[in-house]
Structures are given as structure tokens and as C-alpha cells.
Amino acid sequence: MSVPAVKAAALVDRKPPVHMRIDELRVNYRVAAGYLKAVDGVSLEVRPGETIGLVGESGCGKSTVAKAILRLLPEDARVEGRILLDGEDVLRMSNKELRRIRWTKLAFITQSAMNSLDPVYRIGDQIVESILAHENVGKEQAWRRAEELFTLVGIKPARLKDYPHQFSGGMRQRAVIAMALSLNAGLLLADEPTTALDSIMQDQVLARIRRLQEELSRSMILVTHDMAVVAETCQTLAVMYAGKIIETGPVADVLTNPFHPYTMGLRNAFPRIDDERRQLISIPGNLPSLLDPPRGCRFASRCPFRTERCTREEPALLKVGERQFSACHYPDQAGEFRARAEERRTWDRVDPMLRAASAAGGGP
């Protein structure tokens, strides 16, 4: 199915891409045992037109960052820092101001977005409804825009008249993307947009996102646990671990020359189709407790290269490349680390307890 080369910029009124800056964001959740430091001092800049992938394991705080940007955190969460959207602080906006920027400046797609379509209305009507609610255009014009958006995400415009249940999961997710794009928001925030899809659906959705990025060049934040998804769609990569950003930089730089051992481990954990010999290595151990985070580097307990200094002193985000930053005490040894991180025995040393248990249970 070849998509006619619609010049997307022509179908929606031009708005400049948004500049976003997160300054020292901290989010604490109140739980019975104290305060859970879900996000602990995250700073991030999204320049106009830039696409950033925010990557990390579940519980690392990436979704909390996304929710903080959308102001969707629970009432009892304590939020500190600033989230500047073209200079305006989202965290200090009134509800009225928030409504104004949502969808016009800030659109979002969530993991279960495909289930957010109302089953009793036609998909087209739902998209038109959201356009009419925010912009002063006629119904016909809105419908035409919806048709163009559908073409853009690779669905035949005629299917706007369908109900959600007539769409497959991947098509629904693409329909939601079309809806999120309908107002040409300057910043698109996508939280695990393809996690619920199988690999073919994911491939289709990512292809659309990539294409849109090429044509519309808006700012985008893609939150995902899947590095490969970021590698395929983003320019910049930020890796989060235990509430902090531990490495950031251009995707190609970070993935080919990671400076943080966690990034190295994450990269090795990916199954690849194109490299026969590479071993699949998982990172042993679990995230540290965020109720009472350890002193020093938070990755230390799982790091095969840790030293005494790592458990004592917290590493700062250091400049390691032109635009690459890494929070490891030993950027100079990164080359050696990289080579050793490709071997399984390096990681096997990390958790002697698991090893001991394995020995005890081994043998039939």
C-alpha cells in the first residue's frame, strides 16, 4: 500500500515545534513506608524538532517523567523542579492554561491508547470532535483534515466511517496517532506506543512515526523500555536508571560507544537478527529500593566494574563526547569496559548469591 505523498505541513495550520526543558525534576510518591523517590533530579532538553527516546527498565521513573509533563500524576505525589514548555512552566499552570496547551502544544499517545477510542462512535467522528473542540474550523474542513491524517498514517480515508472494533490493534493504534496529530501539537509525547503490539504491527507504527517526523519535524519524546525502538526512530537517547538519567547523547554515539556500564548491559540484552555470534546477556540483579536509594552510584550493586568509590560517591553526569554525557566515575576506561561487557562471564561475576544457588540446584 503506497501512501500518496501528502505534504502534511499543508493540511494543518503551521505551528512551530515546541522547545522543552526539564530542570531538576523530582517526583516523590507517598507510600506507607515513606517517600518513594521515583524521579530524582532529572534534567532534559528537547530542542525544537528534536526526537528524544527516554529508555529504561520498568520502575526506572521514565513513565513518571511522562506523567509529570502531562500533569497526570496522582494528587499525593510531591513534584519539584520545572518543566518549561516554550518557557512556560507546566507544573505551575492553572487547569485552564493546562487545557489550552493540551492537544495544541502537547499531544500524547499512551501504551493502551488503542483502547481509548470510544466503541460507540465512528472513529472519524471522534477525530473531528477533538479538532472542533480546540480549533475554530468548520465540520467539513475538520473531516477533510481527518481524511488526510488517515492517509498519512497509512489507513484508507474511507475507513474513518468504521467503528473501533472493526480495526485491528495496530490500526487502532495508528488511528490514535492520527488523532494525536490532528491539532499539530508542537510536542508529541509517546509512552510505550508499540509495546502492546506484535513485531509486524510495531514495525508499521514505527515506520509511520518516522515518516511523520521527516515530514512534520515536530519535537517528540518517546518513552519506552525498548532501545531498538529508539534506535529506529529517535535522534537523541536518554537512558534512565533508578530515577536518574545515567547517559544521554545522539542515538548513534550512545549505542556504538556507550560510556555507562548500564547502557552497555542494556545493549547486550537485545536479541539481534543480524549478528550470529553475539551472546544474549541479561543484567543480573534488580533495581535498588527507591525508598532508600543507596549512596553512591545506583547501578553499583549490579555493575561488574564497580569499585569502592562507586558505593561511596555519586557520579555526576560528565561530558564524554561532543553531545554525549555519562554518569560513571570511569569514562576513561569505557573502551575496556565495552570489550569486557560483551562477555558473559563479566556479568556472571556480579551476583555470587545467584551463582551459588545455581550450583546447588544444578545437575539433574
Partner: protein
């Protein structure tokens, strides 16, 4: 491309090769397996004159798995791969075809015979958050299959549970009395695996066991499955939509589309030289973490992959190289 050694055979009207060797070589073997679901067709629907619709989830499949072999089953959602797995362990009753477990037919087993078969055939589910009852402790969870199958001696049960936990690298002393909500996704899936092996089965269906886990722990679970298959001589059916993970742990693979196999054989050969357009499509969909090697995108559009009717016409297997078969039109 390797020269095509055309060696064809066409088993009567179904797709799939006859497994070589005597039937007892295989832990599990099915021939001509079909599972059709009827949708609608209730009393009210028939009163209104609405015909029942038949969904051919599995539509004529031959499959055979040996001891210690991890067999990969790939396809997208809706291809019928999970239904095939569930039919093999007899959660579903097949519409037609036969299933043999160590040469013995279990196709229509019920009652005691079915329970006896289930002792040998276990399932690991996709969702480790849903497959463990949150009210039970790890000890109770892993103990459950033993209780179901009537192992009364508490000491014996404790021994088996502890052994199973050690095998999945969950130190028993630390985890026996924990609840699922205290564990991470990867740990939960280990518990699910311990549950599956505690009865010392010979066949396990692992239905997308890592697709809901963080990438950083996926490798560990895959390794564990492979090691258990080796150590315990388990026949494992690994069901996944992700052909990249299949390549890591499987010996053999079958690609499923619209309820049928379109390609199967040695996993290295199939992934190195995919022959069926659908397999190529699946391979192309795997995202890469390597930004330097811009992968050659085989951007096959939906139309280039044969649709359901075209696949129905493919009723012949061509062995394009040793142990690598692709379905084709005669």
C-alpha cells in the same frame, strides 16, 4: 541463494511434512491438527437467521518435538500460534487430527487420562502478573500442581518445590514465603517456570514468556528455558511473535500464518535464508539496536505477502536445503 534442491512431497491435502523417524522419537507429535472455533450460532443468533462463523485458528498443522528440543513457533497475533500451543496441551480439544504424546494418542483424552497427560504437559503463560494468584505465597504457588496431582506427603512436596526453585535460580530460603507483588516481573516469570517444572513434565508450552518483561531480564529467562530443556530433556514449544528471540533459544522453528505453517526447519537456516515472503516480512519487522548497520529493510507491503486464499493453495512442501522447508503452490 542456495541452489534449490527440489524435493517435494504432498501429504494428502494438508501442509506439513511427515516427521521422520518412529513416532516414539518424539515427545509430542501432531498430524493434520485443526482447531476451528464457532463464533455466534447461539440460540438467539440462529433464531435471527444469523449463520455461525467459523474461525480456523489452526488449520492443518503437522508438528513434532523431540526430547531436549526447543521448537520456536512464530507468527503475528491472530496467526493461531497460541491456539496451537493450547491445543497441544489439550486446553482445547482439537477439531480434527491427532496428537500423540510419546506415541500414545491423547487427541480426545478425558477424565483420568487427560489429567495424567496434563501432568506431563505444562504451560508457561505470557503475563507473569496475571498467572500467579496474588493471594498465595511462592511456596503455595509452586506447590499447587503437586497438590492438584495428589502428592499428599508434605515433606515430599517441600523437597520438590525447593528443588524447582533452585533450578530457576530463586533461592528458596529467601523467596518461599513471599507474595507475587513483592517480586519483579522477571522473578515472577521464574516462579511460573518453577510451577511448570515441579511435576517433572516432558513437554512445556511457553506462550510468549518474555514479551511482557523488561529487555534487561528477557535474556535470563530465555537462557533458563534453554538450560532446563537441556538438563531435564524437556520438549519446549516456544511461542513468540519475535523471531529474534526465537533464534536465540530454538533448535527448530516454524512460521505460522493464518493457521498454517508457511516455512519450517533448522532455525539457523530459516533465519539466515528466509524463503517465504511472510517469513521475510517477519524478519524485516525486527528493530535493530545497531544504528551503524542500516539494516536492509525488506519493505514488503501487505499486498506482497500472500493472503489467506493464496496460502490455502500452498499445499506442497519444498525442501530448499537440508532441513529447511517452505510451503509453495504445486
Amino acid at each position: 541463494m542456495a541452489p534449490m534442491r527440489k524435493k517435494t512431497h504432498s501429504p494428502a491435502a494438508n501442509t506439513g511434512p511427515r516427521p521422520a523417524g518412529s513416532p516414539t522419537d518424539f515427545v509430542i507429535a501432531a498430524t493434520g491438527l485443526k482447531k476451528h472455533f464457532t463464533i455466534g450460532g447461539g440460540i438467539i443468533a440462529s433464531l435471527l437467521g444469523r449463520p455461525a462463523r467459523v474461525v480456523k485458528a489452526v488449520d492443518g498443522v503437522d508438528i513434532a518435538i523431540r526430547r531436549g528440543e526447543v521448537f520456536g513457533l512464530v507468527g503475528e497475533s491472530g496467526s493461531g500460534k497460541s491456539t496451537l500451543g493450547m491445543t497441544l496441551v489439550r486446553v482445547h480439544r482439537p477439531t480434527s487430527g491427532t496428537i500423540r504424546f510419546r506415541g500414545e494418542e491423547v487427541t480426545n483424552a478425558k477424565g483420568k487420562a487427560l489429567k495424567a497427560y496434563r501432568r506431563h504437559a505444562q504451560v508457561i503463560f505470557q503475563d507473569p502478573y496475571g498467572s500467579l494468584n496474588p493471594r498465595l505465597t511462592v511456596a503455595q504457588l509452586v506447590e499447587e500442581p503437586l497438590k492438584i496431582h495428589g502428592l499428599r506427603d508434605q515433606g515430599e512436596r517441600a523437597m520438590r518445590v525447593i528443588e524447582a526453585l533452585e533450578r530457576v535460580l530463586m533461592p528458596p530460603a529467601d523467596y518461599l514465603h513471599r507474595f507475587p507483588h513483592e517480586l519483579s516481573g522477571g522473578q515472577r516469570q521464574r516462579i511460573a517456570i518453577a510451577r511448570a517444572i515441579v511435576l517433572e513434565p516432558q513437554f512445556i508450552v511457553a506462550d510468549e514468556p518474555v514479551s511482557m518483561l523488561d529487555v534487561s531480564v528477557q535474556a535470563g529467562i530465555l537462557e533458563l528455558l534453554k538450560r532446563l530443556s537441556d538438563e531435564l530433556g524437556l520438549a519446549v514449544l516456544y511461542v513468540s511473535h519475535d523471531i529474534a528471540t526465537v533464534r536465540y533459544i530454538c533448535n527448530r522453528v516454524a512460521v505460522m500464518h493464518y493457521g498454517r505453517f508457511v516455512e519450517h526447519g533448522d532455525v539457523r537456516k530459516v533465519t539466515a535464508r528466509p524463503a517465504h515472503p511472510y517469513t521475510k516480512r517477519l524478519m524485516a519487522a525486527v528493530p535493530s539496536v545497531d544504528p551503524t548497520t542500516k539494516r536492509k529493510r525488506v519493505t514488503l507491503s501487505e499486498e506482497e505477502v500472500p493472503g489467506e486464499e493464496a496460502l490455502q493453495a500452498e499445499r506442497q512442501w519444498v525442501e530448499i536445503e537440508a532441513d529447511h522447508f517452505v510451503a509453495s503452490t504445486p
